[in-house]
Amino acid sequence: MGHLFTPSIMRLVLPVLYAVVIVAVLPLMAGYIVLMERKVMADMQARLGPMRVGPHGLLQPIADAVKLLLKEDIIPEKADRLMFWLAPLVSVTMALLAYAALPIGPTFQIADLNIGLLFILAVSSLGIYGIVLGGWASNSHYSLLGALRSAAQLVSYETAAGLGLISALLLAGSLSMRDIVMAQYDQGMWFIFYVPIGFFIYMVGSIAETNRAPFDLPEAESELVAGYMTEYSGFRWSLYFLAEYANMIIVAGIATTLFLGGWLRPFASYHDHMPGTSIELLDALPALLVLGVALYCFFLAPKQPVKIQKLVMALVGGLCLAVSGVLAGSLFASPAVLQGVHGAFWFMAKVFGYLYFFLWFRFTFPRYRFDQLMRLGWRFLIPLALVNLITMAIALLISREWGWSLRLTSILAIAVTLAVAMWLAKNDEVDSVVTAAESE
């Protein structure tokens, strides 16, 4: 039996185990992100959001999932059957495939490819086929119009997002996601502080890439009535839905890894200890946070109107308590375990923080018109990303050749890029007036 655990086998079993965990957890997480979105949206719109299914709507995602499974799955009569079946499949597989290289914790990573970032970018760019073929196959010119629009949007914003990423890669020097995080650990500074404009460009690019918020033109409800997803229903539609939210998590994961220091604890190099113990001050934070949540759940439990809701709330409180126990327990375990568990917590915290911005944008901004969207992409974001790349490279060069500290040179680079951004924005306004006049 011993040979079963030889390194080569273990190298195979562990990633498969991680993969199973991710594929299993993902739909659940996507469901709860939907709930988070509806609750945050309700909060911003002076209302309560789902409250009926489970305490404070906590069981709503399960209800949604069951509904989607039971819904009738209609295929339009003149649709292209093969494509209609294939399109959502392509979307979902590409979205799930991209998780292969995502470093959730120092050890919790399916495969540490030395071209990790490129692999994720490549695979998520294949997601376009799901949308384009879906729009084509449903054979109604509403969805075709929506599909073509989203293809054009994805292609143009991928460039912008890619360039935004490269400016962070300059600092990291390697494509492997692990090395990028380690680089941020070695340099003791998250890359967002060195190249904030790159982060901003990537954020805008990633929102456009996942068809969300001000850029959700392809399924703009009012004009094209749900764009390429119009003809889909039931489980097939939920595949698209899962793909969209999986993409959102990937995009948030990439941003966290590259700009927000992946699984690193904030102030990773700060090593002050709790008096008299070997526990670092900041390491206790996650446990305390989750403990707070647990207490709040227990506090709410008796207030729930229905008995079952009291039970579920208590259950959720217990769950949080267990998680905080694990987090606290790992404080005393070996550093590897500590890093693994806390790393995963910090990674997830940053991902959800990033997603909060997604939701926030969605509820405050109206929708861009298609030509404005394209103009923003090609005439503002991509040139800005190029300029940002060049100035960052120069800053890096100066700091390496003349020994100035990277912080100083990066601030200079940021200043130059901001100046260019102002100039670009100014004549962008002039153009938008011109095009408005043209369109008369």
Binding site: L82, L86, I115, V132, L133, L175
Partner: protein, 168 residues
């Protein structure tokens, strides 16, 4: 090592079959999808040769970029007209000759290159990171061809923009 051979044959058969399917389909979009599978299969073969940078470039460039524009054009062009047109194949003879010549060449390559039909078994333990290798080659020894190629691309892009501007 056996896994290597299995994967190799899987990818190559997939590539050949989908290439044939691509040519024979009546519906153009199905053809495009089979073309994509062919490209992905060849990318798989690159991976087997441990050239992962090439694998990624193949996936991003061909499948992620060029094929998207292919499908874009297919959808924009009004296809009913092209379906009705008479599929000319008067050049049946020329096509035959060309196929034979190509076949002979490939056969010769296999004959002289490798003795056995199985791929070599040398799998070096630690692999040089070939992204860096490609980068060094590109910016090191082949600096000049790289610059010429980039200028060529630039000219092509400007040409496209000028033509589009005039037609709009």
């Amino acid at each position: 090592m056996v896994l290597n051979a299995i994967l190799f044959y899987f990818f190559s058969v997939l590539a050949v079959v989908s290439a044939i399917l691509m040519v024979t389909r009546r519906n153009v979009v199905h053809g495009a999808v089979y073309l994509i599978t062919t490209l992905l299969a060849t990318a798989g073969v690159f991976l087997l040769l441990q050239a992962e940078f090439l694998f990624i470039v193949q996936v991003i460039l061909y499948v992620g970029g060029i094929m998207v524009l292919f499908i874009f054009v297919i959808m924009l062009v009004n296809l009913d007209v092209s379906l009705l047109q008479y599929q000319f194949n008067r050049q049946r003879f020329v096509a035959g000759v060309l196929a034979l010549a190509l076949g002979a060449q490939i056969f010769l390559a296999i004959k002289t290159g490798q003795k056995s039909l199985f791929p070599p078994s040398r799998v070096p333990e630690v692999l040089p990171k070939n992204t860096e290798a490609v980068a060094d080659a590109l910016f090191g020894r082949f600096m000049l061809p790289f610059e010429i190629a980039s200028i060529l691309l630039l000219v092509a892009m400007i040409g496209a923009v000028v033509m589009a501007k005039r037609r709009a």
